[in-house]
């Protein structure tokens, strides 16, 4: 199905029937004027783009070629911003002009399906913030930090170049195609374009990937809160704060969202400060010092309850807080990095890039750098957002470039800042924090011995530094705080204290950063469980129709329990893993995310092929090819590698053989129980790798089939909704062009009551 059956129903109305000036007012800029504006190179424009190119080029030279003792963080910022500007101005413009050809005479779903609620035209600047808040979470903050073990250069290049040619392209294409299809989801588009087999594979992959992603995000929080009474208290306090906010909005002052968010934010700060006081008392330490397993169970129970409670009580208010914190903190960090300009002492490329023996995540640069850094360069999960709320809110077709492509560039910038923050701390401290307890023994002495024993040039960590840093940030120990969040928190605290408060404020900033990450990870856990529950119910409904009714309580609870059990099991596996946890599971997270990207790009390629746009298909074939090679290669290594540190099954065989030999300890596993756990964990991880790679191969094969079919039949088909005449005008980018200013002035001159009526219902 798909390939031929739907050809007839979706052919859009003759574009000629659409008018640029339907009444007295223009709804779109004259395409010739756009073309002329793009082509006209005024002296000022030449100077501006000349400066941007030169500054960008110079920054790259400073990063990649000049080899001093240190490199200043400002070059990262300039290299990133200049490359983004050039990529946005030229590459995304090329994609718009040749591949997507948006038409502002056509109404968007927000206009022709307008209901004032789910479909509501939203100002582009507001929607940009919305979309950014929905796509940027803990991912871009964690991956770059783990990848920093390979040196600063590989991660920087992948984040910046990857986003221009892969990540932002994916987000832009998916957003555009979903918008042209009334806001259809990625799963529905996969079914329309790839048929039943490809569509089903994409759906199952999405569900499994969601489980893995939620589990690993939860693992990051668990690692950040374990043995930290301060963190447990302040993050725990977000629950009563959110409940209070929810009730305030429900019963006391409905709709006063900014007001309650500010109140919530003040309470949050109080919780952070109070956490320090509580952790300083004897009862506080006794009550809130929890080990990893306890915290993992707490998050599992919390996850279940949060996902069955009504949205207004917990999810919605915490979402407001999380948006508030996210935009505020990221803005603050950007300003701080530009003012403080920390010196980076890490090497450009470290020995772990080539020998694959890095303690943080194992494996060589190729392919493991590209799966360790997913969010920030290319993130498949965004395809779910770009085919979710955003396409239903977009005002005009041409705005998809600013929101889709531009929004992802912003996330990439967040990843660069996280990388800078992680690199700005002492290199020895970085490895002491990020090497698993299995290697450091979890003690300061063990960490010093391990890190200095790695034999890295210029790295010499001592007991005093580790003890002093722990004391500065108000933690009992910072050894083996894996998962990236604590490292980012130390980096952020290190930078922020130079700007505000001095060393005395280190502990506040550290816990502020932990809170900031925990907030949106918990929101992602809760929201992910809910979405997965609906997908589960939908699938179960095919066999037991009663499950389709989502308001049937027992069904909802059962489906929630299944999903929580699934990610909870992976979380517990990571928490108790004798080999470490993050280092064994994080590659699965990256692979899963990149596989979803491959699926999203595959759907996009099938759409482009069916439109017959073969001349420009390389725009999507390039990132799709790269993502496929990376993820399939990484999966194969995880499945077939004979190196126990890399291959799950190799590790499995090594431990099984040791058990069969009657050994009572092996590698980093000190007991038979631990050895059995490794055998079990590696089997689960290996099987998951197989599932992922098989599903992706199915999707890619069906895409290639669909593409070849389209080529042979000279297809010019589409599953787009019919074209509807637009009746409103809005500028496309952040700034108005001269032609847009003229049209906007004409609209502003007409009283609101006299403007054309909407076409919605």
């Amino acid at each position: 199905m798909g390939a031929t059956s739907s050809t007839s129903r979706g052919i859009s109305k003759e574009p000629g029937a659409l008018q640029r000036i339907p009444h007295d007012l223009a709804v779109a800029v004259d395409p010739e004027e756009i073309e002329a504006h793009d082509r006209k190179w005024t002296p000022l424009k030449i100077v501006i783009w000349g400066v941007i190119s030169l500054l960008g080029g110079l920054s790259w030279v400073m990063l990649a070629v000049v080899r001093g003792e240190t490199v200043n963080a400002i070059w990262f910022v300039f290299a990133a911003i200049c490359t983004y500007l050039i990529g946005y101005r030229f590459y995304s413009n090329y994609i718009e002009k040749h591949l997507l050809k948006p038409d502002d005479r056509r109404a968007t779903p927000a206009e022709y399906k307008a209901d004032g609620k789910d479909f509501a035209a939203t100002d582009r600047r507001v929607l940009f913030g919305h979309h950014f808040a929905a796509i940027a979470g803990a991912g871009p903050l964690v991956g770059p930090i783990l990848a920093a073990q390979m040196g600063f250069l590989p991660g920087t290049i992948w984040i910046i170049v990857g986003v221009v040619f892969a990540g932002a392209v994916q987000d832009y294409l998916v957003l555009y195609f979903s918008m042209r299809r009334g806001g259809r989801s990625l799963g529905q588009m996969a079914r329309d374009e790839l048929g039943l087999i490809g569509g089903t594979a994409a759906l199952i992959a999405t569900l499994v990937i969601m489980v893995i992603i939620v589990a690993i995000l939860a693992l990051v929080v668990t690692n950040a809160l374990a043995e930290s009474p301060w963190g447990v208290f302040s993050v725990g306090m977000t629950i009563p704060i959110a409940l209070f906010m929810g009730c305030y909005l429900r019963y006391f002052r409905p709709g006063k969202i900014t007001e309650i968010s500010i109140i919530g934010f003040v309470l949050l700060l109080a919780a952070i400060i109070g956490g320090g006081a509580v952790a300083g008392t004897e009862w506080g330490t006794a009550l809130f010092t929890l080990d990893k397993v306890t915290i993992a169970w707490a998050i599992i129970i919390y996850g279940f309850i949060a996902a069955i409670l009504p949205v207004w009580l917990l999810l919605a208010p915490r979402d407001y807080l999380s948006t508030f914190m996210k935009i505020g903190t990221i803005g603050m960090l950007a300003v701080a990095i530009i003012i403080i300009r920390p010196e980076i002492t890490a090497p450009a490329v470290s020995e772990f890039a080539t020998n694959g023996a890095g303690p943080v995540v194992s494996g060589n640069l190729f392919p493991f750098l590209f799966v360790t850094i997913a969010c920030g360069a290319l993130s498949g999960f965004h395809a779910l957002i770009a085919s979710g709320t955003t396409p239903k809110l977009i005002q005009k077709e041409r705005q998809t470039r600013f929101i889709g492509y531009g929004g992802m560039l912003m996330e990439s910038f967040v990843a660069i800042m996280a990388l800078v923050a992680a690199l700005s701390i002492d290199r020895g401290l970085y490895f002491a924090m990020n090497s698993p307890a299995a290697l450091t023994g979890g003690t300061i002495e063990g960490a010093v011995a391990f890190v200095n024993g790695l034999g890295m040039t210029g790295v010499n960590v001592n007991i005093d530094l580790l003890a002093q840093t722990a004391k500065d940030v108000g933690e009992a120990s910072i050894v083996s705080r894996t998962g990236g969040a604590p490292t980012l928190a130390v980096g952020l605290a290190h930078i922020m204290q130079q700007l505000v408060g001095g060393p005395a404020m280190m502990s506040f900033w550290y816990h502020f950063a932990i809170m900031f990450e925990a907030l949106f990870i918990l929101t992602a856990v809760d929201a992910g469980t809910r979405v997965a529950r609906f997908m589960m119910q939908d699938s179960l409904g095919n066999f037991f129709p009663k499950f389709k009714n989502t308001s049937w309580r027992p069904g909802a609870w059962a489906a929630t329990a299944i999903m929580v059990a699934a990610w909870g099991a992976v979380l517990l596996m990571g928490v108790t893993d004798p080999l470490g946890g993050i280092n064994t599971l994080f590659p699965l997270f990256g692979i899963a995310n990149q596989l979803l990207a491959a699926i999203a790009l595959a759907v996009a390629m099938a759409i482009i092929a069916r439109r017959g746009l073969f001349k420009y298909i390389w725009v999507v074939a390039l990132p799709l090819g790269f993502a496929s090679v990376i993820t399939i290669y990484a999966s194969f290594l995880k499945i077939f590698s004979t190196v126990p540190g890399i291959g799950y099954f190799a590790q499995n065989r090594a431990f099984a053989a040791a058990l069969a030999d009657g050994q009572t300890s092996f590698g980093t596993a000190p007991s038979v129980v631990a050895m059995e756990a490794v055998v079990r964990n590696t089997m689960v991880q290996g099987v998951l790798s197989i599932v992922f790679v098989v599903l992706t191969i199915v999707v890619i094969i069906t895409t290639i089939q669909a593409t070849i079919h389209a080529y042979r039949t000279h297809s010019n088909a589409t599953n787009e909704d019919d074209a509807v005449q637009s009746q409103l005008f809005a500028p496309a980018g952040l700034m108005m062009t001269p032609s847009e200013k003229v049209i906007q002035a004409q609209w502003d001159a007409v009283p609101a009551a006299k403007r054309p009526k909407r076409t919605g219902h």
Binding site: A114, D115, G116, K117, A120, T122, D123, V126, G129, H130, A133, A134, I135, A136, G137, G139, M210, I213, L217, L249, R250, P254, G255, K256, I257, T258, S261, P310, V311, W312, L315, A316, D319, Y320, S322, T323, I327, C375, S379, F381, H382, L384, I385, G388, F520, T523, A524, A527, G528, R530, V531, R533, F534, S551, F589, N593, K757, R758, G760, H761
Partner: protein
Amino acid sequence: MPTSVGIGTRLRLGLRAGTRRVVWWTRALMGEDAYEKYVEHHASCEPDPAHPIMTEREFWRDQTDRQDKNPQSRCC
């Protein structure tokens, strides 16, 4: 710009306009203007007796109830 307006006044006006924009953007970003947008949409449509306009309180309840039925993912 007339010369009679001092630089202080201009600065103050600019500052006020800037603050207004920040407030507008923050409110809209948090979704606080959702009810206003709903009312505006409702007014621009033909009256429909089957769907009378919701009060503010009803609207916000309806909004979270719709989120209950149609959850949206947050990214990693």
